[in-house]
Amino acid sequence: MLEFTPDQQMIREEAQRFLREQSSSEAIRRVVDAGASHDAGLWASISRELGWCAMAIPEAFGGLGLGATEVVILMELTGARLACVPFWSTVCMAARLIEAAGSEAAKTKYLGAIAAGEMAVTVALGDLSAANPMSGTSVRAVKSADGYVLTGKVAQVIDLAAADLVIVPAQLEDGATALFALERDTGQVILPLKVIDGTRPVASLELASVAVSTTQRIDAGGLTDAAAQSALAFANLGLAAEQLGAAQGALDVTLAYVAERVQFGRTIASFQAIKHRCAELVVDIAEARSLVFGAAAGLGGMDAAESALEVSGARVLASDLQFRAAEEAIQLHGGVGFTWEYDPHLYFKRAQASAALLGSREAHLDRIAASVFADGGLK
């Protein structure tokens, strides 16, 4: 009844231990301060040694064929440690998009490589802050003699500099959307952006008449709406789990601080004003975690539309929660809370950057309202 299996519990405990050691505050700061694309050592461990990328990939393509719950467990924990790795992009965005919309050849090639930990992959979504970012890309694909020519710009692509492969949704001449896979240095221009949240690097992508072969088109006859929605639901669920984890991480940092900080002859953790605010975060964490794991259990089971609504709800709760946990971390740390030296700012910046990703809370609530009122939304 919505509890972890012993295997899931084991995955969770081991991942938690591993990330505490390997994605320490010092490790995160090395990436942030250097403006690096990711923590390459950590990513190598996660993808190659621990096999985390193989979890949800079907066995037919070299994965372990586990469900959404295992991925959500790992997303929550990477969120808690703000792990600077392209795990979400690869597993929650790209792999699921390939699985939902890719041709058999693409699945064999790329899902296999992802499962083996050989490839970090991202998706160049047209508008990252839109609730439906799969459509509305400005990239155009024009048929050529031996393939396609891609032209256009994508303003923000998560983990682009770290990715070995970028999947580009592009509009064909007939208006349909196709997916193209571009490996490193195949004509695209990548410009890393200076961002406030250095824990999740972003770059812009420019395609100036980039010629691609027909084999680089990886969708199976166009990206259908159902496939896009299925991929998006998974990406949003993973993101909600990550946000939830980051909230827990911010609370953990705060609890450690208030237990040590002494004022008026007592630890500030003993003041009811502090206790209640920490307890309120526990309430919100319990709420968000329940919906995240409830939605994960339902994903692929109950009807897809209902499931997508729960995922939207999970995003709303997790976005609210993550911001509140991060702002409380700053406030309850007092003066040191807004220094570079202490960690709250890392959580705070990540919170704001994540809230806007794949649809604002308002957009997700609108989607739920359209279903609850059964009227297709306000026109």
Partner: protein
Amino acid sequence: MSGVEAFRTEVRDWMAIHLTGKFAELKFRGGSGEGDALPELRKEWERELAAGGWTCPGWAKEHGGRGLSVAEQIAFQEEYSRAGGPGRMGHIGEGLMGPTLIAFGTEEQKKRFLPGILSGTEFWCQGYSEPSAGSDFGNIKTRAKLDPVTGDWIVSGQKVWTSLAHLSDWIFVVARCEEGSIGRNGLIFLLMPLSQPDVEIHPIKQIGGGAEFNSVFFDGARAKAEDVVGQPGDGWKIAMALLGFERGISTLGQQMSFQQELDLIVEIARENGSDRSPAIRQRVAYAWTGLRAMRYLAMRVLSDDQSAEARREALTYKYQWSNWHRDLGRLAMDVLKMDANVVADDPRRERLQQMFLFARADTIYGGTNEIQLNIIAEQGLGMPKEPRGKL
């Protein structure tokens, strides 16, 4: 069809056949804020349930129950509420008193009291809170003095917020039996008949106009020697165990009724145009989200997960649902707009108005918001305990 689904169908069919005729009037009645509605018919309904074997279905078979699994109990609660099953007059006996007697009662006490609970013929209420012992439950002042001749206990004092005392037959009372004792020491757990001359029951008219709560005054009232549960001095232990028996299964039925309230709000919003307001739509969607999360939280709470994290999050459940419900009350009134203020013979509006008013109690009874946050901080996060005063 799985076993639970088959069972669910059985409950649904039974309700469809039995919540009809004279009982049809009871549909969706006797819930939040109107626990005192249609009492005689609801007592009759308890006997109807008993005849069908649906009272105390979670009790073990040896005690007269059905020995249902947790999943089946959840299914029962959900189907009962979905069908509009009325607020249960027998809830205190079935959910609290019975399990306490099964755990701590003598064989004689079980023989004497369990059948009345099972058959829906004896109704119980709880004598816990006092005017000066609310959140500070240890500050109980009601006294129990041993009558050396009969061995009976002579009780004097006042209990308050006693739900349905005026419609009950028995009350369980936590009283101070050791002169000079303080806090959790020196308490006794007594079973007392309400129909005796030295017990007076005064209704408390509440915010919505109804009166399901009472003050109960004891002025030398008597508890028989054999009606002590546990030993004199065990009162705190028994009282706390009793509260622990409410594992929250009935809250899944409660959630079904929350869903009905939300559905009602949506229905009215579509009729009166509130559904054109973007802000109202967002609030409705947010309420929908909270209810989904609450359902999954309840399922996690009822699971066997004994990790520190699961136990910590279980502590948040009361805070979670009560605040959600309180917010829903306000949303309902905002959707009704000016109609919210006008009392009319419209059962839908009446239900929401009562819910709006009574939900203010949700965050107070059973541990206030403030006490809940203390519990979460202290027991869940291990933060320092509140200092105690000397007054």
